[in-house]
Symmetry: C2
Subunit: 192 residues, 2 copies
């Protein structure tokens, strides 16, 4: 249990077996079936979720109730509405499962106690959020500076696993495009 979680943790900061046992006590497993939600807009986000298995998406709804996907999550990644989690304000994002999922949840109190009790947990958290920041900055750069063709090609090479497992209209939403537009972009690319 929690194999992947500790594997990723140890990649960032090596843990002793004892530390690992302490951390284990603060973790909660959760299964989610495809299409079930983990977080709904309007609720407070009560946890950080590490993905052991499966795929999820985090999105908000625009004025026309279109889904706008801000992030995908696959195994080994972490997903949460961090702002809501940290401040206790209601969430502005939805999170739900694209495939059946196995998650590891860290509640707010668990998070706070781990920060106090296990110094390496703080390091893990810092490195984890740093990686997420860099990935998001790269994405934002791509969105504001590339043509949709380039953006899509970049996405395919950077995240081939997502492209394989996720329906195309969600990738369109991730890119801020309509499904029809992405379809046409794909045709344009393949005809080159």
């Amino acid at each position: 249990m929690y194999e992947l979680f500790f594997q990723e943790f140890n990649k960032k900061v090596a843990l002793t077996p004892e530390e690992q046992d302490v951390i284990k006590q603060y973790l909660t497993p959760k299964r989610l079936r495809k299409n079930q939600y983990l977080l709904q807009e309007g609720d407070v986000c009560k946890f950080i979720a590490f993905i052991e298995k499966g795929a999820l998406r985090q999105y908000s709804l625009d004025e026309n109730a279109n889904e706008r996907i801000i992030q995908f999550g696959l195994e080994g990644w972490t997903i949460s509405d961090l702002y809501s989690f940290l401040t206790g304000e209601i969430a502005t994002y939805h999170i739900d499962a694209i495939e059946d999922c196995e998650l590891v949840l860290i509640s707010k109190t668990a998070h706070e106690e781990l920060l106090l009790k296990v110094p390496k947990y703080e390091t893990y958290t810092r490195l984890q959020i740093t990686g997420a920041y860099i990935a998001m900055q790269r994405r934002l750069t791509s969105v504001i500076s590339s043509s949709p063709e380039e953006q899509y090609s970049g996405f395919l090479t950077l995240y081939p696993d997502i492209a394989r497992r996720v329906p195309q209209h969600m990738i369109a939403s991730f890119m801020g495009l309509q499904p029809e537009t992405l379809s046409r972009i794909r045709r344009r690319i393949s005809s080159k």
Copy 2:
């Protein structure tokens, strides 16, 4: 010296005078005149810069050599090409001064030694990057889910100080638009 830096630091984690003295030894002041650069694409980013005074912009160049501004920095903020700083790879962003600036630089070795010697520095860093992550996520959401009008209005209310101090064509670049387009959007908004 370093007043604002320690003010912001203490807002996140309270320091004793002794800790403050230790940290001070790792900081380097730097002045930058308007239009001078702090980082050029192709160089390795050697520091994290805290802004005591002034304004900077971080941008990349697209295929037509258009500037695409990924981030502005005002006093109290931190600016760096984190990916380059952490990995030692060459930078993909430029950073230069929009106004005369006073900066506080933290070099890579200073950063690493501070992480080891001063536990609160790690906490500061963690909170700092978390805030940056949340701000960037909010921005990305706005870019992919709002109309340019809404995006610009949101920008004005969220960052009125930037709007006041930075030329309009840079704000256009920040929004991923051409200057002409932003000008027309402004007219549309003001005629309502």
